[in-house]
Symmetry: C2
Subunit: 314 residues, 2 copies
């Protein structure tokens, strides 16, 4: 029993440790953002980019980069750079998804969304600026001295974030809601929900795990193991999210709940049923743990991450 409690405490400490470190790195990257010249400082843009990025949160994506990179003893400072790039992409996507033309959300993590705090034009540009900054950060020598490693990160992030990944998944999601077809909601089957969510949410979480393998110059077998882990973790994350939307409490979750079901969104709960979704989630955690077998005890913290993702309450 004590082992489990200690492990839980250790996990939480490590998660919080990365969150604190990444906050500092994000702040520094935003403060030192490359300007044409000081006179050309677009202050409102920089304020909005800070607002969108420095909203706290668990920083799960950078955590995955840091902990997968740690398997290969890759320097933590490099993992934090790649993790910051990933977090910038995640944050840009939230700012754009929240827009009136998209999900039209007023609240995010208990604060006004970017277009409510600033305005729509600023929220759009803040997202564009963060997405661009992410690639800027990956391209810097500080991220890795080997250009081949940096360019592999750029390619993997672009794939995860683009039309075969996050952006495409958001489009499929809006389409399934009947946004473009005279309000005709498509009832998605389990396979379609899985594919949509793999793209929309899973692809960036998977990149987090691939990034560690790329930074650590992993073998093909090690990279495949982390790819599989990241994919399973991504699905688990989304099922937990769908369960929270049904069973969670708005105050704890920090945003309106019950909204996805009301919008007719394709969720794992609607596709698999409540019990089916819970069973699948359990199964995914076991599989994710198994995928980490090649790394032995070194991967204990990543196994805990899988359980944490499945059991989170916010």
């Amino acid at each position: 029993m004590n082992d489990v409690t200690d492990a839980g405490a250790t996990f939480r400490q490590r998660l919080d440790g990365v969150a604190a470190d990444i906050e500092r790195v994000l702040e520094r990257l935003l403060d030192d953002a490359p300007l044409a010249e000081e006179r050309g400082r677009p202050q409102r843009l920089m304020d909005s980019m800070r607002y969108v990025s420095l909203a706290g949160g668990k920083r799960l994506r950078p955590f995955l980069v840091v902990e997968t990179a740690a398997l290969f003893k890759a320097p933590r400072a490099r993992a934090l750079m790649a993790g910051a790039a990933l977090e910038f992409v995640h944050c840009y996507s939230l700012a754009h998804d929240d827009l009136p033309a998209m999900d039209n959300d007023d609240l995010r993590r208990g604060r006004p969304t970017a277009h409510r705090k600033f305005d729509e034009a600023t929220a759009i540009l803040a997202g564009d600026g963060l997405l661009t900054l992410a690639f800027d950060v990956l391209a810097r020598e500080e991220t890795h001295p080997n250009p081949a490693v940096r360019i592999a990160l750029v390619l993997a992030l672009a794939r995860g974030a683009g039309l075969g990944g996050m952006v495409g998944g958001q489009m499929l999601d809006l389409a399934a809601e009947g946004r473009f077809d005279g309000g005709k909601v498509t009832k998605l089957g389990a396979a379609d929900v899985k594919l949509l969510q793999t793209m929309k949410t899973g692809a960036l979480l998977r990149f987090g795990c691939l990034a560690g393998a790329i930074l650590g110059e992993a073998t093909a077998r090690q990279r495949e193991a982390l790819d599989r882990y990241g994919t399973l973790l991504g699905e688990a994350f989304q099922i937990a999210d769908d369960l929270l939307d049904v069973e969670g409490d708005a105050a704890t979750v920090g945003k309106a709940t019950g909204k996805d079901a009301a919008a007719g969104k394709g969720t794992f709960v609607t596709a698999l049923g409540l019990d089916g979704a819970k069973a699948r989630l359990k199964d995914l955690v076991v599989q994710a743990e198994e995928a980490l077998a090649p790394f032995g005890r070194d991967a204990d913290v990543l196994k805990m991450a899988a359980r944490f993702v499945a059991e989170r309450k916010a």
Copy 2:
């Protein structure tokens, strides 16, 4: 006299030749865009990305990449890849700038803008997808076998497109219009207009010239020469644009004219006066030609490009 006419004809042929080639490359890159799997094809997103990118036009930015790369005998196929990435960024920026929350334009190159043809959410996502695809394209081995060259392209494009470049310039432009300050329009002086436009429009044109130097693994001196040429060309382009807004004909230009002045935008014409702007434009062309001196006759087509940019009617 015949020399000049022939040179003009040759220039137009080369410009049209790159436009035709880049159209094919853009089509191929969009058709072969990396999907998670065929079933996950976000058709409406891909249609909108095609609509935004394949609208024809002079393709001046890819032309600059191709012709600067040609100075170093870099393979044209590589220059077309980098040129396509640049054109994707240019097209994304048009789709986002046209949005109701930004410039609220209905017409672009004589066709409905992306959000009028599709809808706002699709126009936002098409832009996000194109920006991401640009970095995907630069990261591919097809762009250059040397990862150091590819990562240098990524960094330079991110700098040109980000908050120190295009996105920041757009923000300064909206701010100067009084969008965020209760409608208070800022009367910008010549130096502020220059900086704003250097960021908003110049940075991508400059990248086009830098990209050729990067692909050609130019010496520092050669790179500086092209950097200077690109910077001067960018300013000339914007002055010509501002002159067209005042003196151009909407049917030829393909969008509403007189709009910038009406919106109180900081233009070179309002800052320098009509005659001042024309004199500055002439001066910039001479300087741009001089900047190309290190390349001798090899740079004749780029000198013509500077005159073309200054004298264009659309």
